[in-house]
Amino acid sequence: MSEQEYSLHERDDLDRVLAAWAARNAADGEQLLRLENRIHAALDAEQSPELEEAAIQRRQAARWRRIAIVSLSSAAVLLVALLASWLTRSTPAPGARPNEFARISNDDVARKRVLLAEMEHLFDGRVEWIAESADNRRGADNDIRVGLVEGSSRDTRAARPLVVRLVVIRRTSEERQWRPVRVTDVVLRDEQYVQLPPQADDPAQLSLWSYVLPDGMVALDTDLDLPGDVSLEADSSNLQEAGVPLKVFSTHDGDAEYEVYQTVRLLDDQVG
């Protein structure tokens, strides 16, 4: 929906009903005073700067404990076959149209399903997301990271699993063919927020949020920050059709031209 189509000034019965409900449920002065005193008491208990610093450390530690990011190396033996399938995935021939680099084939979808099922089995149902990246600039090993929920398994079965592919491609005026610079596949679930922080050997940062509409269209918020000789910062919000690559960013740097495409597919859809 565009800004022109909707204005907050167009308040209607829904707003009025909600406002009346909210007014009726607002805490009264006595409730708020009790709560205020409670917060003051809690502040008293932890007010020194040292305690503040310790609390920050606890908060950060807790945040990182919740989502443990596991290196593939810890489970390499069991995942060799899956990793191989990622490494040998079909890539478009040089000269292909740019959006072809982001296309997710039925085979890819089938592989992701297997990958998700194997990871779920391996990590006892605690998998929140799986991210696979290959960066041709680094010449390093491809990277697989898995986000886990700490503790017991999480009830995410109801949320639909998806795969999002984000591809950075590049070409120069001398060599007119597009070539992939970086490919990242993220398997996640509907309405899940995924944040991939930078690592020592990979400074890229990526955050993703998806929402699947009843008609199968997918709202995707993507924020990719790719530092390097050419810094790419692709921040986009799109409603896109499953399976159809979408250009979300393009830029020039001297002689080189860069584009970023993304595609999303639902893993529980029937593949042909």
Binding site: E3, R24, A27, E36, H40, L43, R59, E191
Partner: protein, 183 residues
């Protein structure tokens, strides 16, 4: 004249006194509590999360650079606290667990109808069935009456995304509450 939020934070940083923080609590408690209640639909939980949000904010004050206003920053922390709560409780969409609605006090327009206990229950059920992001979109814009850009800033998303979330949330609420609305 009352000290501004920035002046209170500066005073706290300089002296380490807790009094400026207490003034900040008094000043922002009603709006933060209202936001959190409208997200979790339960006063007791909203109380706990309000306390948690203020404590998180004050612990994080050393990292508060003043780029956004303290109010914006605090409300963003409050929303993050709610999302963490949903994550912990695995209860989204949630079920209303609050006080039973009061009895109806009469009939009339939509405002009057909203105090009807049946409608209040329906509103809470409908809000509870929205996903957290959609619920936040409607709470921030319709109930907290923020501009769309402000809501987007709080949620850390683009304005376009926020427009879409508002649209979707309103559509779902109207579907569920249609019988009570004279649309």
């Amino acid at each position: 004249m009352d000290a501004s939020d920035a002046e209170l934070i500066a005073a706290h940083r300089k002296s380490g006194s807790k009094q400026p923080l207490e003034i900040l609590v008094s000043r922002h408690l009603p709006t933060v509590h209202k936001l959190l209640f409208q997200m979790v639909l339960d006063h007791s939980t909203a109380d706990d999360l309000t306390q948690e949000a203020f404590l998180r904010a004050f612990r994080g004050l050393p990292s508060f650079g003043g780029r956004a206003s303290f109010s914006t920053w605090l409300h963003r922390i409050a929303l993050n606290t709610v999302y963490d709560h949903f994550d912990r409780c695995k209860r989204s969409p949630l079920e209303f667990a609050g006080e039973p609605p009061a009895a109806s006090s009469g009939s009339g327009g939509p405002e009057q109808a909203a105090i009807d206990s049946e409608l209040a229950g329906e509103i809470e059920t409908a809000l509870g069935q929205l996903s957290p992001k959609l619920r936040a979109a409607i709470v921030l814009t319709s109930l907290q009456q923020l501009e769309v850009a402000q809501a987007a800033e709080l949620e850390g998303c683009s304005t376009a995304t926020m427009y879409w979330r508002i649209h979707e949330a309103r559509k779902q609420l109207k579907q569920r509450l249609g019988a009570y609305l004279s649309l």
